[in-house]
């Protein structure tokens, strides 16, 4: 028997509506006047989800993967009734619990105990249900001693543990989970994984969205692959992950320009291929924070000149993260025409989590009036940096860490003896 049966689900957003639309009455008046003058109204829209149909059997654990913006979260939002589909429908059998975020509605001023009840109610648990599971929740989170302390005094790790613990004790027939495992320290993540596995085994239906391929492969026998709002693959996990990571469609981690004449470039050099590689040299558009990632560029040099490969990394907000050129001394002299392959290795623990766009180019030194940009493809490649497990610059912090980079720094610290008039600086060494 089905648990979820979706037929042609679609969701259309007005551009700009997805993020912020703090429009005021004035904007509307201005828009109205403009419409009067031009005689028509121009509304740009995008389909966040388009014609998605699938069925989930009762007790099945289904994973959903896809690039950022592929529509995964939109799908969960539709199924949990946070927003309505523009077209299509889905039949849902049973109570739905959705976990699109850990700690929704947690209030900093309230104590741990109070937040358990509040958060439980928000997630759809009744008062008596929470009371029944209260001890279990507290034990799982390991916050017994701080139950009557306001959550604002908690460490972020404790807050996350408590929040996940409340959510993990939710018992709906259908559970929708979005990427919540990307939080907490490694040890707690393992416990969460175990909890998620037992969800699947208890006969409940689970829909699970994640960027973490190992996690999703472990939890879900069957996966859906979404790409730009469309369902492009539905099948066994290994098969779908394979298509996502190495396929032509799911990934933008590889570009090939087969035809020499149309390949980007001029009469000095032409780009022939570019790809993102992981530590073992495989094409991959998902890389771990704690692993190095390579940008491989292959190009044809058409005349004997001094050129060098160049890359630019830009993050989701369009901020330039860095530019880099191949500084190998071989590129300081003119080289024979032919095909060259070079890989730029970006060290582990440098990039922050998120999506990065890579521009690849072949340039030459600015000398006189010679051309210096020969072949350039902006946003040729896209890859995602994710965090799986192990020690990273995140430490025990669970929230979002800003900035395009997130280096794992070496920190030195010492305890100071402070007397009343000691200035607040480290004392100069006497030796």
């Amino acid at each position: 028997m089905f648990s979820i049966s979706a037929h042609g689900l679609a969701k259309q957003y007005r551009i700009g509506q997805m993020h912020s639309s703090i429009d005021t009455l004035r904007d509307h008046l201005v828009h109205g006047l403009r419409t009067l003058r031009t005689g028509r109204t121009k509304r740009e829209t995008i389909w966040a989800l388009r014609d998605v149909s699938f069925e989930v059997a009762e007790g099945e654990v289904l994973g959903i993967i896809g690039r950022n913006g592929a529509g995964k979260t939109t799908l969960l939002r539709l199924l949990s009734r946070i927003t309505e589909p523009t077209a299509g429908y889905a039949d849902i059998r049973g109570r739905v619990g959705s976990l699109l975020e850990v700690g929704t509605g947690f209030h900093q001023e309230l104590t741990g105990r109070e937040n358990i009840f509040l958060n439980g109610a928000i997630l759809g648990m009744g008062h008596s249900e929470i009371q029944r599971k209260f001890d279990e929740i507290v034990e799982f989170a390991g916050v017994e001693k701080f139950l009557d302390t306001p959550v604002k005094r908690y460490s972020s790790g404790m807050t996350v543990r408590l929040a996940f613990s409340v959510a993990a004790h939710l018992e709906p027939e259908i559970l929708l989970v979005d990427e919540v495992l990307a939080v907490g320290d490694a040890e707690f993540q393992k416990r969460c994984l175990g909890k998620m596995e037992s969800f699947g085994q208890s006969g409940r239906t689970v829909l699970f969205v994640s960027h973490s391929m190992p996690t999703i492969a472990r939890l879900c026998p069957r996966l859906l692959l979404l790409d730009r709002g469309r369902l492009v693959e539905d099948g066994p996990a290994e098969h779908v992950i394979g298509r996502y990571l190495h396929g032509d469609l799911g990934t933008s981690a590889r570009r090939v320009w087969r035809d020499h004449d149309s390949a980007p470039g001029d009469d000095w050099a032409r780009l022939r291929s570019a790809r993102i590689v992981d530590a073992s040299g495989d094409t991959s558009d998902v890389v771990d924070v704690s692993e190095p990632v390579g940008v491989e560029i292959a190009f044809d040099l058409l005349r004997r000149e001094v050129v060098f490969p160049w890359i630019d990394l830009v993050d989701e907000r369009g901020t330039l993260v860095f530019s880099a050129m191949d500084t190998n001394p071989v590129w300081t002299e003119a080289r024979d025409p032919g095909r060259y392959v070079t890989t730029a290795w970006i060290p582990e623990h440098l990039l922050n989590e998120g999506t990065l766009h890579v521009s690849v180019s072949v340039k030459s030194p600015l000398l006189g009036r010679k051309p210096w940009r020969h072949a350039e493809v902006e946003s040729a490649l896209t890859f995602h940096v994710v965090e799986r497990e192990g020690p990273t610059a995140r430490g025990a912090f669970a929230g979002r860490i800003g900035g395009p980079v997130r280096p794992l720094l070496r920190w030195t610290s010492e305890a100071l003896d402070v007397e009343d008039d000691t200035p607040l600086v480290a004392r100069p060494r006497s030796d």
Binding site: Y13, Q17, M18, S21, I22, D23, T24, L25, R26, H28, E58, G59, R77, L78, L79, S80, R81, I82, T83, E84, P85, T86, A87, G88, Y89, A90, D91, I92, R93, G94, R95, V96, S98, L100, E101, T104, G105, H107, E109, L110, E114, F117, L118, A121, I122, L123, G124, G126, H127, E171, E173, S202, G203, R204
Partner: protein, 280 residues
Amino acid sequence: MSAVSAPLRVRRIQRSRRRVQLNLRELWAYRELLFFLIWRDVKVKYKQTALGAAWAIIVPFLTTIVLTLVFNRGLHLHSEYHVPYPLFLFTAMLPWTYFTACLSASSMSIVGNQNLITKVFFPRLIIPLGSVVAPVIDFLCAFTVLVGMFLWYGRAPHWHAVVIPAFLGMALLTAFGVGLWLSALNVRYRDVPYLLPFLTQIWFFVTPILWGITAVKPHTQSLLALNPMTGVIDGFRWAVLGRGLPHYHVYLESLGIGLAITLSGLWYFKRVERYFADLI
């Protein structure tokens, strides 16, 4: 092991039709969440304030003192009631303070709870509903001051006092109706926080707070009763002070307008709530 024994209800998720459905059954199913949200608002409201819940008493009390000093200058705005002006004023300040607290809370309620709106489903109505229930606690705190004033002036409550809850209910209904409009409009038009202080200020002067409704002619009274707060304040005053005659036509007219605002507010709110998560 199957977690399910009874056959489960199948729910269809699709674009809602144009007809507005109130879905009271669902609202009832989420009553515990409503309770918890109110409880949270009450609990959090005065956290980290030095005076705490005393603010609920201080604000209407000091306002009454200041307004008394300014307006109690032989203007005879309340001559027919034969009560000290501070008492006359405070009986109106009580429901009025409640009403304005409701408006400021509910106008920001949907936008202020956007983390909930965009992450979990629940009937959105419980948010503005909670915003008009939570200030009742403040109202009750301030009510003790009224009791104190009665003792101070050596007065006994009149039997009319039994209908106080009815007029409080009327204030709640009106606040809920206006709050529905403001909270839903604020999702789309962030002009509401700028409009609100202006709105409450004007509203304060067209409501018989500083003056008694008997100061104007009967047909002007009907005109004033188009403001639903006129009925609330005048009725409250009649119930508390036990003076003068009840103005039934004013109460009924105000109640009717209050109901109309609430029904239209419900209609508008239900019509636009499906876009809240997308617009916020």
